[in-house]
Assembly symmetry: C2
């Protein structure tokens, strides 16, 4: 099933727009994992089992696995394999923000879709559509373009004005009008920028899904982010939280506390959609 | 030794501005490698042994290894370990074009510098300086910012004008004036855009090193690229060729032909610097 259809089904089934970022930092895991052979995977597995009925997607960020080299990549694959096997209706997003020239992007796509078997990936806009075409050509996968980042300094280039229009809005316009011929594009806009979220929603209309990271540890206000980003049907968004949920407790009750935090976050999102 | 010092020494020792891109595509390797346990590494090793006295750097692109998952990452590490052990004076560049928010970039830096042990990496500009600071803080490593890409469609955003100034020039300006407090920044500008190369050189002055990909298979004209990019001392650039050299022959003479092509390319670069 294509990514967008899978997402629509799970939005309904789990009544949730919440995505959990599986970004395990070995230094922050409960002590019991530190002697595990597969600490990243084992931690993820506990979080997944505790929250799978509460989410619309899981989104591991590649960096947290690459930091451990080949072993980390194995655990990233174990994580995706586990979700696909035990929770097959949950869409899998690989947050790897790749972008290179076209020939090279073919190989990044192999990593994501052939090796890891994910449903969607995040990519850069910088190289332009021509170079990202190997991703865009894969019709059943979600191609999520980094548009307005959640970090404090993201405006250095993203907010520059070109003929009165800020660059991230130009990206939203090009992606929605020109890149999206297979209707498989999404955009990333940070929850930390609700007014920018609203502008992007206005540009892309009701149908494009937005991935919204930055509630939780990054400080984005959930009410403002949800109200600004949902479409007229009250969906069309994937709201991501990572550290705020997975490290809700650093003790042996981490999974239980992650579940409680995920319920609270899902319900808060639903209150404002 | 820091990256820039290592580079200056090898420019002189090997009298070469040529960098070879170690981007092994399994479908293009000579048949003899297809049954190897470590085809990417074994192919690289043959290319490295045949060309190490002709180059100023080796630059594997991460995508070609990631396509093979954890096994590919192992072979990427084998490749860097081999060069570091047998050719310790050759700088190692990991072309991975990473860019994310700051907390995440810490983990990408661990992959590059702690796990793989490279001397320099390529990064994205899009997220702004604040987010790339974990890279910029590592004073002895080269942080090579993707400024003007070599691909045909790179102008979609990079050539947009802000008050008459194109975006890639704004990036060159910010990186050279604001990001480079540790004098460890470089810029990537494609060989396929010689007039843009010249503009960037004029903005950054004599001291910043430019990484220039796109001669060879991508069609960049060597004479034009070299003349536009060298500084007033006739150096300050790393000119990269990958496919044009490593696939000079698809037969058993691939290493010998790669050496011949590397000599030809090095000499052509030296003719015009």
């Amino acid at each position: 099933m294509d990514f967008i259809s899978k997402l629509q089904k799970i939005w309904e089934k789990n009544n949730s727009l919440l995505c959990i970022g599986l970004d395990p930092d070995i230094d922050k895991l409960p002590d019991s994992f530190k002697s595990s052979n597969n600490p990243l995977f084992e931690f993820n597995k506990a979080i997944i089992d505790a929250t799978a009925d509460l989410v619309c997607a899981f989104k591991p960020n590649s960096a947290f696995y690459e930091a451990h080299g080949a072993k980390g990549i194995e655990e990233l694959k174990q994580t995706f394999d586990y979700i696909r096997s035990d929770y097959p209706d949950i869409p899998l997003i690989l947050d790897f923000k790749r972008g290179d020239i076209g020939n090279t992007n073919n190989f990044y796509a192999q990593f994501a879709f052939d090796y890891l078997g994910v449903d969607a990936v995040t990519v850069q806009s910088w190289q332009g559509r021509e170079a990202i075409q190997p991703f865009l050509d894969i019709k059943d996968k979600g191609i999520i373009v980094w548009c307005k980042a959640s970090n404090e300094g993201s405006g250095e280039f993203q907010d520059l004005e070109l003929n009165g229009k800020k660059l991230y809005l130009q990206i939203a316009e090009n992606v929605s009008k020109e890149w999206n011929t297979n209707t498989n594009c999404l955009l990333v806009v940070g929850a930390t920028y609700p007014s920018e979220l609203k502008e992007v929603r206005n540009i892309v209309g009701d149908n494009m899904v937005l991935l919204v990271p930055g509630i939780g540890a990054q400080g984005g206000d959930t009410e403002a982010a949800v109200k600004a980003s949902v479409n007229s049907k009250g969906d069309g968004v994937i709201i991501n939280s990572a550290r705020g949920i997975i490290y809700a407790s650093g003790g042996q009750d981490f999974a239980e506390k992650a579940r409680a935090k995920a319920i609270e976050t899902r319900d808060l999102i639903n209150l404002y959609r």
